[in-house]
């Protein structure tokens, strides 16, 4: 693989590139699903190819190919340089980047059980057992389960001398019960919706999640939701479960801190950000108890945003985003760091695969644990609504106004969960919401949730991100707007 890298870098240099980096990637994926007790998807894929990014005439070009021959990679590198030279005809300044050291390293993500070595029969048997448990509950009309595994080897080389090999293994799974009755469809998912929980782990993640044990619980809740009271519309106290708070962090902190958005580079598609450059160290983003970091290091946890080096050859780092409520910093790359006068990239350039250009992505953007015990948090809530497991999510293109709905809600009265609520939702303005946070549960309740489906970029890239969160409480929140007119 290094030969392919070297050959493409040398071709780029000879064609006039002043900088180049190249990734050869070998990606393997396994997808399993069941539906109503039968196997749905059963598929495995592998893909290998090379992508090269070059600077020529002060502008960027990128090309990729799956033709891993001498002619193929040389042609690809030459194409990247030609594209860069075309870019230069519509540039406004020469691209410049902050310095970075060259690294020669090899790293493998930690895992105990390689999911590709676990027999498919074992994996399917687990899914079918969970599926059967859900179907045992009367009233459930649709049961679905899924597992997904990925193993990616990447060989990164750059013209400054880096040679970095990384192997990453991710696993994920989830189960869903759906109930159609009367004029309503209700759904419950475990351990999270939209594919379940995903992490930079091996098959040990799947075994730890106890799908079968939890299957009947969510199936019964799904049926019970039809008889539950409608979540009212009001201003009030909101408690968010960890997985829902993880998505709240993703949308209202993770995306607005992407420096490419802030600088207008995503204005046509993903949008911009309210976090203009004058807000750093000036904006009171959240209440004093809120601390958020972007941490790609393995010591933060094995999340979908964990790695040793980003796809620009910058080592994984921990960046303070919100410190005691104050906005502190952005997700950057070598180019945007230079544009705003930083000394170093925060190491967040990531690519979906060999045929995509690395772009700024979230790593693990996490809310650090607070001091509260979960039971104490509930007991100290006189009147509120607990919402768990995302059902829908939406936020404007500058990341101010959001609305989320969840699968299930619980009314809290006098410090106790008193009844189930259906169709819960809440909405607000990002900074007002985070400034209303008055309780965050402690590390015992903290989970590094995986969001495997973050879309960004053109051509679209899907990326996995991590979000550590524990259940937290927010005051004076607009609850129930999604169904307010019905």
């Amino acid at each position: 693989m290094w030969d392919l890298c070297t050959r493409s870098l040398e071709t780029a240099r000879l064609r006039g590139a002043t900088y180049a980096d190249v990734r050869v990637m070998h990606q393997r994926q396994r997808d399993l699903t069941t539906k109503n007790g039968k196997v749905g998807t059963l598929a495995q894929s592998e893909s290998i190819g090379l992508g090269i990014r070059v600077l020529a005439n002060g502008a960027w070009g990128f090309a990729s190919t799956d033709r891993l021959t001498r002619a193929g990679v040389e042609g690809c590198a030459a194409q990247a340089v030609a594209i860069a030279k075309a870019s230069a005809t519509a540039k406004r300044h020469d691209v410049a980047m902050v310095d970075e050291q060259p690294y020669i390293d090899s790293w493998q993500s930690p895992f105990r059980k390689d999911p590709f070595e676990i027999p498919l029969e074992t994996q399917l048997a687990l899914l079918l057992a969970a599926d059967a448990e859900m179907r045992r509950v009367k009233g459930v009309t649709l049961t679905e389960t899924d597992m997904q595994f990925r193993k990616t080897d990447s060989w990164f080389a750059s013209s400054i001398g880096s040679r970095i090999h990384q192997r990453k293994v991710t696993s994920g799974c989830g189960i869903v019960a759906t109930c159609f009755k009367g004029e309503e469809i209700q759904k419950r998912s475990y351990p999270n919706s939209f594919g379940g929980q995903h992490a930079l782990q091996g098959y040990e993640l799947i075994e730890s999640l106890e799908l079968v044990k939890n299957a009947a619980v969510i199936a019964e809740e799904c049926v019970a939701l039809h008889g539950a009271a409608q979540c009212p519309e009001k201003k009030g106290t909101l408690i968010l479960g960890g997985s829902q708070l993880g998505l709240q962090i993703h949308e209202s902190v993770g995306h607005p801190i992407e420096l490419d958005r802030v600088l207008g580079e995503e204005a046509n598609f993903a949008g911009t950000s309210f976090l203009t450059l004058d807000q750093v160290n000036n904006l009171k983003y959240a209440s004093d108890i809120v601390n958020v970091v972007a941490d790609a290091r393995v010591e933060h946890g094995q999340g979908l945003g964990t790695f040793a080096y980003d796809d620009e050859g910058v080592p994984a780092q921990c960046t303070s985003i919100i410190q005691e409520g104050q906005f502190r910093g952005y997700l950057s790359n070598r180019e945007t760091a230079r544009l705003i006068g930083l000394d170093r990239s925060s190491g967040t350039m990531r690519t979906e695969g060999w045929n995509r250009l690395p772009i700024i992505r979230m790593t693990n953007v996490s809310l650090l644990p607070g001091n509260w015990d979960y039971d104490a948090l509930i007991e100290s809530t006189e009147d509120g609504i607990l919402m768990e497991t995302n059902r829908s999510w939406s936020i404007d293109d500058r990341r101010y106004q959001f609305q989320f709905s969840t699968e299930i809600g619980w009314e809290i009265k006098g410090g106790k969960k008193v009844r189930m609520l259906k169709n819960p939702s809440y909405s607000g303005i990002t900074t007002e919401f985070w400034n209303s946070c008055d309780a965050i549960c402690n590390a015992e309740y903290w989970t590094l949730w995986g969001t495997p489906n973050c879309g960004k970029g053109q051509p679209m890239q899907t990326m996995g991100t991590g979000h550590g969160a524990s259940p937290s409480r927010f005051r004076n929140i607009h609850i129930g707007a999604a169904f307010s007119d019905r």
């Binding site: 893909s47 870019s87 005809t89 519509a90 300044h93 580079e265 598609f269 995509r356 059902r391 999604a482």
Partner: protein, 468 residues
């Protein structure tokens, strides 16, 4: 950050053209035949092969300059084997015989790992297909220099008007072939071109986008001019109270909303009881002015004339004057329902079945201008953003307006408005359509391209307002 408003422009003619050619059809067939031969040697009962190839390029610009500029080329071979009522799929992008044989063996091994499925159908035999020419050589011939030139002109326009341009100009070609051990073979190739442009005039923005197989069908500079003019109109927005408004939805806004409706027309979705059409087929669900087809052969559509199993796509009349009349069927869901497959199945194995992907609305004789002129008070919506489903049976969708929301009073646009969040049932919306324009090929960001009209809709529900 921006050094100068003056562009440094080397002559485009000095940039060597970058050309990529797809494999010829006989080369695709040779890959399919190789897989079928290898599978036969291994003793596979039935085998299906998909070969997909892309050669795409995309030039991305922001802050009045190109900042990303990419090209990709790739080919995948996807193999489904069947044996004793079991099936599975393995995909590779390596086409040497060892890799193909390995993929066949992975597929076979996966298939053998599962319980037998008594409902699994044998693969289909040979089919007849309509020939379509959607491969436009002028699109395939577009170079990075051509795209850069168009982008540069759009950026020059933005600079001239004190605005900031961002967007994409992409062109590409793709092809797909499918064959199986029962003699079925089909192939299809097309080109595609797309230009999307946002013009920002702080704090406002507006947007225009076009998409076609034929790059000559849209004029980048006209799109840039349209976005520029609307961005200028969008400065100084007024904050309006949330509530129910008459809205005039431009085609892209219609497309992105109604795109969430059509997976419900899959027969499998009804069989699974996850469709909003359960217990509603044959009822007057929408207004009588709503008729919708799925038609892969419509001149403004793109896409292959066959589905994931190689079945020919049929034209299906989904909604007739507001009444949902027909569903689309894969072979499996058709077999369960006692119907004929309509050629809308996804590649197997999958759990979703099928979906209509070539939607065509019957339009009307109105126009945006007539809709505005006939409106006492309402909102003109350029585009919607981040649409998600809040209620799957009432089809309540939430999302935001974006890049140009204009207040209409007494038959004319009087100002721009801050963006709203909506929570709106699609079923209700399609009952409240007061006027439709002619249907045209529209493109947005949330749904695939369709042939849809602009619509004037009463009582559209905006629930909250944002800060810009």
């Amino acid at each position: 950050m921006k050094s100068s408003n003056k562009l440094r422009v080397p002559a485009v003619g000095k940039i060597p053209p970058v050309r990529v050619e797809l494999l010829r059809e006989q080369e695709l067939r040779r890959i399919v035949d190789t897989v079928l031969r290898l599978a036969k040697t291994i003793g596979v009962e039935e085998t299906e092969v998909h070969v997909d190839e892309v050669a795409d390029a995309l030039t991305r610009f922001a802050n009045n300059a190109i900042h990303q500029n990419v090209a990709e080329q790739g080919l995948t071979v996807s193999i489904r084997t069947m044996a004793d009522g079991r099936t599975a799929r393995a995909t590779t992008n390596r086409v040497d015989e060892d890799s193909l044989r390995s993929a066949i063996e992975v597929s076979l091994s996966m298939a053998a790992s599962q319980p037998k499925n008594p409902g699994l159908l044998a693969m289909p035999g040979r089919q007849k297909y309509r020939r379509m020419n959607r491969f436009i050589k002028q699109t395939a011939a577009i170079t990075p220099g051509d795209r850069a030139q168009a982008v540069r002109r759009a950026c020059d326009l933005a600079i001239k008007h004190g605005q900031v341009a961002a967007g994409i100009f992409s062109t590409g070609q793709s092809q797909t072939a499918i064959g199986n051990s029962r003699g079925l073979f089909a192939s299809y190739r097309e080109t595609h071109a797309e230009l999307s442009i946002t013009m920002q005039e702080k704090p406002a923005a507006s947007w225009a986008k076009a998409n076609s197989a034929d790059v000559r069908k849209f004029e980048p500079q006209k799109l840039a001019e349209r976005a520029s003019e609307k961005a200028h109109l969008a400065v100084e927005p007024r904050e309006l109270p949330p509530g129910r408004y008459t809205v005039i939805l431009e085609p892209a806004a219609v497309l992105d909303l109604v795109g969430f409706l059509f997976y419900d027309f899959a027969a499998t979705a009804l069989q699974d009881k996850r469709s909003c059409l359960n217990e509603r087929m044959g009822t007057q669900l929408f207004g009588k002015n709503i008729s919708i087809y799925d038609d892969a052969y419509h001149p403004l559509q793109l896409g292959a004339p066959f589905d994931g199993e190689g079945m020919p796509r049929q034209k299906v009349h989904l909604v007739d004057r507001g009444v949902p009349k027909n569903l689309v069927y894969s072979r499996s869901s058709a077999n369960l329902a006692g119907k004929k497959p309509t050629g809308h199945g996804f590649t197997l194995p999958n759990e979703y079945g099928e979906a209509p992907m070539n939607l065509v609305f019957s339009g009307g004789d109105s126009s945006l201008e007539k809709m505005i002129a006939s409106t006492d008070r309402g909102l003109l919506v350029t585009r919607l953003w981040y649409i998600r489903e809040v209620d799957p049976y009432e089809k309540i969708m939430t999302g935001m307006t974006r890049d140009g929301l204009f207040l209409v009073e007494n038959g004319r646009v009087v100002s721009t408005a801050r963006n709203f969040r909506f929570n709106q049932s699609l079923l209700e919306m399609l009952r409240n359509v007061e006027a439709l324009g002619p249907a045209g090929r529209a493109t947005g960001e949330e749904a695939f391209e369709m042939v849809v009209p602009a619509m004037k809709v009463s009582d559209f529900h905006f629930s909250e307002v944002t800060k810009f």
